[in-house]
């Protein structure tokens, strides 16, 4: 089937206004927030599960690569159509279908923007916890595919801990439900398998999400450090004390400088690092806990700990943190965000290594990350247009992930493997591990047409 006929068939399914085929439109779906690029043959914007099912079964019959896309904020190339084919843009399937407070669930379509859902449920005093930094633009579908985390996942867990049920369109167009509103479902935990599968097993068309009551009290602190080590040691000390704050985020000097260029948060520009520590929960005992944390900070040579006075101050502290990735654009036009995880006691060691790597390859690196989880996000800043620099950046990125693995960590915290870290999977998986993942992929998609080329490296003999 040629592209013209394919587009015609898709128009019959989704309507003529919702199939995009021009050179321009196809190029506009060739990128996401990573450095990868590949142009699809056609883009379709379905409006219902039924349409998605028909699109999928067409792709299945014709063996045309297909992948789902939300807002295209992926950081590892997960939404890049490396083998061409169909991009399914879920922007029209953005309805919140139900907010069921007695059962504490929300049922949504995949194109719902994470923050839009959070805003709606908060009106009723509830929270959908996973809060990726991109929450104001990322979609629930994308969060599910990548098993997204966020600052509050230290205490509340990542996306997989908040998914109760999924409606999924399988490879041949069959629609299944896995899980549901009840908390304990018999059979395989298929929802668990789909979450974090990077869109390689099927297309999610509805999700039942878990809601929790919004905390009565929140206390947000900014702790300022002269050295990164002191900040990192504080993180381990807090957790060792048995306190689990809602967040433990760290930001180093280069990132604070970039953020201050755009948002005047008031980060101390002469400090080496800051921690954003947030406590949430019942008001009882909160002051004591905050006091204890401040003591731990002092034992670890903190320069100063500030408590946000009100919501406005808290929002400002967070605006800086959540905008940090974009803000590095003030320093250099492009960035590559590494996403490695280490045992939190190893943070000082690995951060020093990151600085060595920065010097070795002569590329500036800033750090902003979920310190409580030991989830690093070194941001390598450069200009994509400089090919030599790009080469050095990619090498630096590999070295950083290797450094994480060397201390017992792993190559991804939440951004997935996508395209950018295929090679690095060899740092953590042996051939048996990867072969088993291939079996699972084959069970769902024997023809390898659903988001092909992602997450699982091809066998060596075929490369």
């Amino acid at each position: 089937m040629d592209n013209k006929e394919l587009a015609e068939r898709l128009r019959e399914i989704a309507g003529k206004d919702y199939v995009l085929t021009s050179d321009m439109d196809r190029m506009l779906y060739s990128y996401d927030a990573s450095l990868e690029k590949a142009i699809p043959d056609v883009v379709v914007l379905p409006n219902s599960t039924e349409e998605v099912s028909k699109i999928m079964s067409l792709a299945y019959r014709e063996k045309i690569p297909i992948l789902g896309r939300g807002s295209g904020t992926n950081l590892t190339g997960g939404s890049i159509p490396v083998k061409g084919g169909i991009v399914v843009h879920f922007s029209r399937m953005n309805r919140i279908l139900e907010i069921d407070i007695p059962n504490r669930t929300a049922t949504v379509e995949p194109g719902v923007i994470t923050l839009d859902l959070q805003t709606e449920v908060l009106k009723k005093g509830f929270i959908y916890q996973p809060d990726p930094a991109s929450q104001k633009v990322s979609t629930i579908g994308g969060n599910i595919a990548e098993n997204s985390g966020g600052p509050h996942c230290l205490k509340y867990g990542v996306t997989s801990n908040h998914i109760l049920g999924l409606e999924v369109v399988l490879n041949d167009g069959t629609v299944i439900w896995t899980g549901g509103k009840s908390r304990d479902n018999p059979g395989y935990d298929l929802a668990g398998l789909f979450v974090g599968s990077e869109g390689t097993l099927g297309l999610v068309t509805k999700a039942i999400l878990k809601l929790e009551r919004a905390p009565e009290t929140i206390k947000t602190m900014l702790a300022i450090y002269e050295t990164i080590e002191d900040g990192a040691n504080t993180v381990s000390a807090i957790i060792a004390e048995g306190i689990v704050p809602a967040t433990l985020e760290m930001m180093d000097n280069p990132v604070m400088r970039a953020v201050e260029e755009t948002i005047k948060v008031g980060y101390p520009l002469d400090a080496a690092a800051v921690l954003i520590i947030e406590l949430d929960g019942m008001p009882e005992g909160m002051d004591e806990k905050a006091q204890k944390i401040m003591e731990i900070c002092k034992q670890n040579n903190v320069r100063e700990v500030k408590l946000a006075k009100d919501d406005a101050e808290r929002d400002l502290l967070w605006a800086g943190r959540k905008g940090a990735f974009g803000a590095v654009g003030q320093v250099r036009p492009s960035y590559l965000c590494c996403d490695g995880t280490v045992p939190r006691t190893k943070l000082p060691e690995v951060l020093n290594k990151v600085m060595d790597i920065s010097k070795k390859y002569d590329v500036p690196i800033g750090n902003v990350f979920h310190a409580g989880d030991g989830n690093l996000h070194p941001l390598i800043m450069f200009d994509e247009r400089n090919k030599d620099e790009l080469k050095r950046v990619l090498k630096a990125s590999t070295d950083i992930l290797k450094a994480c693995v060397d201390v017992g960590g792993t190559i991804s915290g939440e951004h997935g493997v996508g395209l950018e870290k295929l090679k690095e999977t060899s740092f953590i998986f042996c051939e048996n591990d990867i072969e088993f993942e291939r079996h699972i992929k084959k069970a769902f998609d024997p023809d390898d047409f659903i988001n092909p080329g992602k997450m699982i490296p091809e066998p060596v003999c075929e490369q």
Binding site: D32, R92, L115, I263, F325, G326, G329, P333, R385
Partner: protein, 381 residues
């Protein structure tokens, strides 16, 4: 402008876009159309692809680039502060040179160069709105010399729906005892539509003419009810004369007790920041001070206000090139006003008034749409 020039002018700026996508939910046209081509990130990508010779300008790129409302919300939320609106308007100059632009713009240019206004009326009829004011002699506001020049702007001069705005302004200035005049038939379009049309070079003759007229009148201040005229003068005219938006002058008159608002207006009202007054010119507080000075009025803010205000849909010449898109954006605006429980929306722009009032009427909404000057006159009388 050709691609080589565009590259020189915009390449470094557009390369700052790291495609994070944070601008998507801030863009009214993306929210309505739901396609990347209607997003700021998409428009930046088009410019970059064109500069890198990966994509030719075409009717497709025209559709995307000319659908931008020029509201600037994308830059307000962009952490790299990419000047997307400026890049898009520079791209428009390229599209124009290659013939890819809405042909209705040709008519606009002919009209502006022929009649010196956007509506192709006889420019001598600019002060037609004076007929709305009965109490004053016809030539009361067309003086040879005055302290303040009131620059009326084309839309308020010629569009019946909003001719009341200059009439209001004249009443307010008269009431406060301000020495002012208007230019009548000697006022020419400020040239704002030409910037959005991708032909900023044609603005020069307008600018020269208008600046000469200000000098003739000897005015020390020029006041505008139109935010886009105000913005154009402020950013492109490079003059030492004091430039003020009506909201700023009215706030000053209230502060100096030259104007008192006595009559109660017992409604719940919100304020819509016009893009060219708020985000693009930095005037946020004065209009709010005026609204809040009206007795009896219960003021509520929209959730997205000031720098994050959502365009009414009337910007960027889009109303002329794609009226359906404008209508859908306006509907989003009306919905957000309804959500905060406001019975009335006050703004400080004749174009926002037209866009919102037209939509309210078409959907039989009972929302009251007022210009700031409407409200002041009502509370003054």
């Amino acid at each position: 402008m050709n691609i080589v020039q565009l590259r020189k002018l915009s390449y470094d700026e557009v390369a700052k876009c790291n495609k994070c996508g944070f601008c998507l939910p801030s863009c009214p046209t993306y929210l309505v159309m739901k396609e990347e081509a209607y997003s700021p990130r998409g428009r930046n990508a088009i410019t970059r692809f064109a500069i890198e010779n990966k994509l030719k300008l075409s009717e497709d790129t025209e559709r995307s680039i000319f659908s931008c409302l020029g509201c600037g919300a994308c830059t307000a939320v962009c952490l790299s502060s990419v000047k997307t609106k400026d890049i898009i308007f520079q791209n428009r100059e390229c599209e124009v040179d290659e013939g890819f632009y809405p042909k209705i713009i040709d008519r606009l240019v002919r009209t502006l160069e022929g009649s010196r206004n956007i509506s192709d009326d006889d420019n001598e009829d600019r002060a037609e709105w004076l007929e709305l004011i009965k109490d004053f002699p016809e030539d009361a506001f067309e003086k040879e010399h005055a302290e303040i020049l009131f620059f009326v702007g084309c839309v308020a001069s010629f569009f019946p729906m909003v001719q009341r705005i200059p009439a209001n302004m004249a009443k307010i200035l008269q009431n406060a005892g301000v020495d002012f005049t208007i230019l009548g038939g000697d006022e020419w379009c400020c040239g704002f539509p030409l910037i959005g049309a991708g032909m900023p070079e044609k603005l020069e003759q307008m600018k020269e003419h208008n600046l000469k007229k200000v000098a003739d009148v000897g005015a020390k201040t020029v006041v505008f009810t139109c935010p886009s005229c105000y913005h154009t003068w402020k950013h492109f005219y490079k003059t030492d004369v004091r430039l003020m938006h009506a909201s700023q002058l009215i706030a000053e008159l209230i502060k100096d007790k030259r104007l008192t608002l006595k009559k109660e207006v017992n409604l719940t009202a919100t304020y819509h920041d016009p893009c060219d007054l708020g985000r693009n010119s930095g005037v946020f507080e004065e209009p709010r001070e005026v609204v809040k000075a009206v007795p009896g009025l219960n003021f509520v803010e929209l959730p997205q206000n000031r720098m994050l205000s959502v365009c009414c849909g009337g910007g960027g010449n889009v109303e002329m090139t794609d009226p359906d898109l404008t209508a859908q954006v306006a509907q989003m605006k009306l919905d957000s006003i309804k959500d905060v429980g406001a019975q009335m929306v006050v703004t400080a722009c004749q174009q926002c008034v037209r866009t919102m009032q037209t939509r309210a009427k078409r959907t039989k909404s009972d929302l009251v749409v007022k210009d700031l000057t409407d409200l002041v006159v009502e509370a003054m009388e």
